[in-house]
């Protein structure tokens, strides 16, 4: 495996506990710039835990403790001097269930930039259009920017959440099963979008859909009971993995 190049994030020997319960065991994984990295594995194996730990979303969970190093451009995300707000701005997160704010499409997008100090109206309008275009949503909502985000379809809401993340200029976008609540057409749109997004951003995605992981990702990590069993190029993982267990899981022999 040659993948020392250009890692935006480098997860090094991470252990994580929820109270007494250890959920991650010595997990290591690189995340390459402008690539899609997928995480697969049976429910409860720690995919969400791992992806949440990348932007310190686990900080919000009581009793959660992390050991090991989580490097972002060579700096430890869990280091003492780290600004968590900045980390979450640079590393955005999309969840399974679209969670737009109960406000207008426009306000959903401009909320983040405003929080981060942008007040100029033209600048905000520019960010609004750019983010919605990048999320492949502009054409569908440009005439209803002041309508409630809740009136959008599930697929549109998910793309709105992606646009909202893009609005604060992140580098990395984490996605935790972003299409599992969507119909096939909305799912295809998100997949196409991800393929576009990696030209500018870096994506880490958790998915239960093997074909989806195979289609859209460059690298895949297979996790099992808190461990990273195998990490490699996606083609290798889905055609000829090194570990028997990976083969057995992907072909549905267990899990």
């Amino acid at each position: 495996m040659v993948m020392i190049m250009d890692n935006v994030i480098d997860i090094q020997n991470v252990n994580l506990w929820y109270g007494d319960h250890q959920a991650l065991f010595d997990v290591s994984m690189p995340v390459q710039k402008n690539k899609v990295t997928a995480l697969i594995g049976p429910s409860g194996c720690g995919k969400s835990t791992l992806i949440r730990s990348i932007n310190r979303m686990n900080d919000l969970i009581d009793g959660c403790r992390v050991e090991g190093r989580m490097m972002f451009h060579g700096e430890d995300i869990y280091g003492p001097g780290t600004d968590v707000i900045k980390v979450r701005k640079k590393i955005g997160m999309i969840f399974q269930k679209p969670n737009p704010f109960p406000m207008s499409v426009r306000d959903n997008i401009t909320y983040g930039p405003k929080i981060h100090g942008i007040t100029d109206k033209d600048k905000l309008e520019e960010i609004l259009e750019k983010s919605l275009r990048e999320a492949a949503l502009w054409e569908e909502v440009k005439d209803r920017l002041d309508k409630s985000a809740m009136s959008l379809s599930g697929g549109q809401q998910q793309r709105l959440c992606i646009a909202r993340t893009l609005a604060v200029s992140p580098e990395v976008i984490l996605m935790d099963e972003p299409t599992s609540a969507l119909d096939p057409i909305a799912t295809s749109k998100i997949e196409d979008l991800i393929t576009e997004l990696v030209k500018e951003y870096t994506v880490v995605i958790v998915t239960h859909n093997m074909q989806q992981a195979a289609r859209i990702s460059d690298y895949t990590g297979f996790m099992y009971i808190g461990e990273m069993v195998e990490f490699d190029k996606t083609d290798k993982i889905f055609q000829n993995p090194s570990k028997e267990m990976t083969d057995r899981y992907i072909s549905g022999r267990f899990g």
Binding site: A214, F238, Q239, N240, P241, S251, G252, F254
Partner: protein, 217 residues
């Protein structure tokens, strides 16, 4: 979880493919026997079997595509279905060459030829060996068997050259035997092609078993 239906369908596909392999192997054995003994009747049975080869080729292809559509197999399952799709094409071609050998045997027997060449018999034997390697490995996945297949293929090429040279020699000595010699040359060509297809099948089956790309030609 792997659906019960998927496991059943996959097993059936493998079973039919193995049956297909057995049929082609049996055709090869009979075409070689027919050639060694200039036995038109046995040759006829080989020709008759080709219809079944054609049928099974189509049937297995259809079934494999149906499995791809319904279950989208992954990793080793995917390699298996993909390799079955490739291998049946090679097997169908081998069946066709057996048919061609049989047809030539009937011609030779009608022309009153009573015996074959030693080198052609050797080629027939090699062809049968190579096909058997493929069909057996399809069943037990023991790819160590393929260690010898390149050597056999090379031997096949050498024998074909020998047959060709000898035939040219005979033909220039006695123009009356041009007809017969041409048929022998064709038969040696058919066996040589069978060897090539067996090698390609062996490469694919190796990929099926361990995911590695190899070259046996």
């Amino acid at each position: 979880m792997r659906m019960k239906r998927f496991i059943e369908d996959l097993n059936n596909l493998v079973g039919t493919t193995n049956g297909f392999g057995n049929l082609v192997l049996s055709m090869a054995e009979r075409s070689v026997y027919a050639m060694n003994n200039l036995d038109a009747e046995v040759a006829k049975s080989v020709m008759d079997d080709y219809a079944q080869v054609d049928y099974l080729d189509g049937l297995i292809e259809e079934e494999a595509l149906r499995i791809l559509m319904l279950f989208q197999p992954m990793v080793s399952d995917m390699r298996m279905v993909a390799v079955i799709l490739k291998t049946i094409t090679y097997m169908e071609r081998i069946g066709k060459y057996c048919y061609n050998v049989a047809k030539a045997v009937i011609y030779l027997s009608d022309a009153g030829v009573k015996r074959s060449y030693k080198n052609i018999s050797a080629m027939g034997e090699l062809a049968v060996d190579m096909i058997r390697m493929v069909t057996e490995t399809m069943k037990d996945r023991d790819i160590t068997r393929f260690e010898e297949i390149s050597a056999k293929d090379q031997k096949m090429d050498e024998l074909r050259d020998l047959v060709l040279n000898k035939s040219v020699e005979y033909m220039s000595r006695d123009p009356c035997c041009v007809d017969v010699c041409t048929y022998f040359i064709s038969i040696s060509k058919f066996f040589e092609r069978i060897g090539d297809h067996a090698c390609k099948s062996a490469e694919k089956i190796t990929y099926m078993v361990n995911g590695k790309r190899v070259n046996y030609n």
